[in-house]
């Protein structure tokens, strides 16, 4: 459950974050304002609140349904929690992209313009590929944070690791230490390889300047 939640939310966060980052560098002023407001607002709100907003606000109060799954409360809550996680981390992905763009020397973008490339072409063919390399480390950190933050979905009753752990402890309190260790080792096994891969990738792709 944790893995599924993480994977789906990561996908969503990537999409949202890339879109927001695009907005922030776009030539249209309104989009830039949207991007900045989104990042400022979401980054400063506790994740718990974002997930609450999705589950209680959009699902319970507005009765919006996630269209691609059945109507059971289980499935709907799961997907709304995923959307909450995705929206929250999307803001961090956008920041990661921005720091990646900042590592690209100004001359690159200027050269692209001098060649006559437009905004879309310059961004796609010149800046973004280089920005991705600079953004790998912060993107990886966001992914690791997302893996761990998926536990927050427990607050709305999604049966991921922390929720299961709480249930197990309530059921068999005598095994507290064992339960905690098991779950902790599980997380270490999820996050350490991710961190390892990220540092490997960022070293491999590093641009020597």
């Amino acid at each position: 459950m944790t893995v599924k939640l993480t994977a789906m939310a990561a996908l969503l966060a990537g999409l949202v974050g890339t879109f927001v980052a695009l907005c922030r560098v776009s030539p249209v002023a309104v989009l830039r304002v949207y991007g900045a407001v989104y990042v400022d607002l979401v980054r400063n709100t506790p994740l718990t609140l974002v997930v609450f907003f999705c589950v209680f606000g959009l699902y319970n109060a507005l009765a919006w349904q996630v269209p691609w799954t059945d109507n059971s409360i289980h499935q709907q809550t799961f997907w709304w929690a995923t959307i909450g996680l995705g929206l929250y981390h999307g803001a961090f992905v956008a920041e990661a992209w921005r720091s990646g763009v900042n590592t690209v020397p100004v001359g690159q973008a200027e050269a692209a313009r001098a060649l006559g490339l437009g905004f879309g072409q310059g961004l796609r063919d010149v800046v973004a590929p280089q920005a991705l390399r600079g953004a790998i480390t912060p993107l990886g950190n966001t992914l690791i944070a997302l893996t761990k933050n998926s536990t927050v979905a427990a607050t709305v009753g999604v049966a991921e690791a922390a929720y299961v752990m709480k249930g197990m402890i309530e059921f068999r309190p005598d095994l507290l230490g064992a339960t905690f260790t098991l779950m902790a080792v599980g997380f270490v096994m999820l996050t350490l390889p991710t961190g390892f891969c990220v540092s490997l990738l960022s070293r491999r792709l590093a641009v020597s300047r």
Binding site: L31, F52, T151
Partner: protein, 264 residues
């Protein structure tokens, strides 16, 4: 950074951009409108009426805010202390000390805050050494401290490592003990470099106190939920709570940015 990506727009591009701008504005209004209309009943003025009364603030909002700030303040102090201890360990000459603190940092960083909180909460509950209200506070603070202490240790270490090697060598050449070099020469300079990172970690701590919700710590969100279950205005209450959080955190972020500019 955004201006280097495109030329000064010509008349046609200006029109296109204005067109996209208008569409985006309309889309924004539509989305906001759908939310407000859809949540209309939940955001109606009478749902905010409880926030006009003194009792609401006196018995729900302010105690909740206080609990949040108390947990955050205690956690900030303990995290920084733990961070310093771990950082000293990682910077020490003793190899096993370095190994142990490095391992501690890695493990604490890999495990979610929430699991630390839940684990501590039940461990304390079963040991029965503390009484009710204190358990959840200790659980929240422990969870936050273990995780953020590890992060702050990393911030400290990278701050010290960012200094020119000559500083350390000069200190040693003057005949200072390694610990004295760290205390008198390296740390005062490192603090300047890492203050912004430290402050953004404070924002993280403040936000993460909201996780105390699950171990029944009466922080802002939980006390707002209690309020909401009485008045039936969950969405409105959480909107107020969100606004409070955003206001405090944006203020902190602004301070961090200003500090960063001044340090330069």
């Amino acid at each position: 950074m955004s201006t280097v990506l495109y030329e000064e727009p010509g008349p046609r591009t200006k029109r296109i951009n204005a067109f996209i701008g208008v569409i985006a504005t309309l889309a924004g209004i539509a989305l906001g409108g759908t939310l407000v209309v859809g949540l209309g009943d939940h955001l109606a003025p009478e749902k905010f009426a409880p926030f006009a009364s003194r009792e609401t603030w006196l018995y729900y909002v302010l105690p909740g805010l206080r609990a949040t700030l108390v947990a955050a303040a205690v956690a900030i102090v303990t995290s920084i202390s733990l961070g310093i201890v771990l950082a000293l360990g990682r910077l020490s000459h003793n190899r096993s000390l370095r190994l142990i603190s490095g391992l501690t940092v890695e493990i604490c960083r890999a495990i979610p805050v929430l699991m630390f909180m839940v684990g501590t909460y039940f461990a304390l509950l079963m040991s029965g050494t503390l009484n009710g209200g204190l358990i959840s506070l200790v659980a929240v603070v422990t969870g936050l401290t273990l995780y953020n202490g590890a992060i702050i240790a990393e911030v400290f270490v990278s701050g010290v490592n960012s200094l020119p090697a000559g500083q350390r060598e000069a200190g040693l050449a003057l005949g200072l003990q390694p610990l004295a070099v760290l205390r008198l020469i390296l740390i005062p300079q490192a603090i300047a470099a890492m203050l912004p990172a430290l402050l953004s970690q404070v924002v993280v701590i403040l936000k993460d106190t909201a996780l105390g919700y699950i171990v029944t710590y009466p922080e802002l969100l939980r006390s707002l939920q209690n309020l909401a279950s009485f008045h039936g205005n969950l969405v409105a209450s959480f909107a107020v709570g969100g606004a409070l959080f955003v206001a405090i955190n944006i203020a902190l972020t602004r301070i961090a940015t200003r500090l960063r500019h001044r340090m330069r």
